[in-house]
């Protein structure tokens, strides 16, 4: 570049001394052109630098927003997952603890009665004992009915308690999305600071569908139904 300038300048001086204005004009234009290209190059470099700084600034701001808002929010969501899984486990264990003695009691009764019934079939049972066995059988039927109803209800409780898997699964998916988003931002920041700006992957800050309401997180700003009663009220206000 420097040598280009120098030789152009020398040619220019020579042309002027010779009084060759046409050549001198052409050389002057060429010199100005060189100057302009350099200027544009410099402007280009500055623009790129500004752009990179702006991008890194927005990534910075994004990471700051994430650490300030999204990470604590994710922590609260994960706390809720612990709460829900604990509640489901408690419900299931309570139901099992209630059901086991019922099934044990019915089992004992059946063992006792079937032994007696065997003796009756073998004609080894006196009439008095047969009478008492008959009333025991009647009582067993009655107790079986209540017992099995309780078993049915308990099994239903266990069934319903498994609903936590769907809800917590949805919440955990969202937290995974957040972690991925954070990862992408960190990678972007590293590539910018290394001046090797790669493709900018677009991330989605907020999912389209808000999903399960986490108490204390999603209901802070209102606008969500926190119970089935809320849903029913809203729908009936719409004429449902």
């Amino acid at each position: 570049m420097k040598s280009d300038l120098l030789s152009l300048a020398k040619d220019l001086v020579a042309a002027l001394e010779k009084g060759d204005e046409v050549v001198a004009d052409g050389l002057l234009d060429e010199l100005a052109g060189l100057r302009e290209t350099q200027l544009f190059k410099e402007i280009g470099r500055l623009t790129r630098q500004l752009h990179d700084t702006m991008v890194s600034f927005s990534v910075d701001a994004k990471i700051a927003a994430m650490t300030e808002h999204d990470i604590p929010d994710a922590k609260e969501r994960l706390q809720y997952v612990i709460h829900m899984t604990e509640e489901a486990a408690d419900k299931t264990l309570t139901a099992v603890e209630n059901l086991l003695p019922i099934s044990q009691q019915l089992n004992d009764q059946v063992a006792l009665l079937s032994a007696k019934w065997g003796r009756f079939l073998d004609r080894e049972m006196p009439l008095d004992e047969f009478k008492s066995m008959s009333s025991e059988i009647s009582r067993h039927f009655k107790e079986s009915k209540t017992g099995l109803e309780q078993v049915q209800a308990g099994l239903n409780d266990i069934l319903m308690a498994q609903g936590f898997q769907d809800i917590t699964g949805q919440i955990i998916r969202r937290v995974i999305d957040l972690v991925q988003e954070l990862e992408v931002s960190m990678v972007k920041l590293i590539s910018i600071s290394g001046r090797k700006s790669g493709d900018q992957a677009s991330t989605q800050a907020h999912p389209e569908l808000p999903g399960p309401v986490v108490p204390g997180v999603d209901d802070r700003e209102g606008g969500v139904a926190t119970s089935q009663v809320d849903v029913d009220d809203l729908l009936s206000s719409l004429g449902f």
């Binding site: 069934l159 498994q162 808000p210 999603d218 849903v231 809203l234 449902f240």
Partner: protein, 124 residues
């Protein structure tokens, strides 16, 4: 009475299926999103649709809209069972023509009540 249960979580499909069985509805089919549900519905023979909202592929609200837009399915009763609880979403579902809306987590009694209410309206 044949019922189609649509949810991307198999645990939830099993819960709904068992609850329906307990209510006397033993004939059920399952699909894991709107995209796989639609061909089943179009084939005919489904009398009642229970669907989740947030599913990959095709969401429940899009499925509901597709059902209402199809002249053969337009009158199919649809119950939405979902964790989506924003007021705008419930209104959106109502406007799309849902027959009932249950938010998760729900109780067996709630599901029973909503299903009975839908059938009452259809019969009445």
């Amino acid at each position: 009475m044949k019922i189609l249960i649509v949810d991307d979580f198999s645990t939830m499909r099993r819960i709904v299926k068992n609850l329906l069985k307990d209510l006397g509805f033993t004939n059920t089919v399952e699909a894991d999103d709107g995209k796989s549900a639609l061909p089943i519905l179009e084939k005919g023979g489904i009398d009642f649709l229970v669907t989740d909202w947030n599913m990959p592929g095709m969401t429940g609200i899009d499925l509901l809209r597709a059902v209402r837009a199809n002249p053969h399915l337009a009158n199919l009763p649809v119950l939405m069972v979902t964790a989506e609880a924003k007021r705008e979403q419930i209104i959106m579902a109502a406007q799309a023509g849902v027959n009932g809306y249950v938010i998760k987590p729900f109780t067996a009694a709630t599901l029973k009540e909503k299903i009975e209410k839908i059938f009452e309206r259809i019969d009445g």
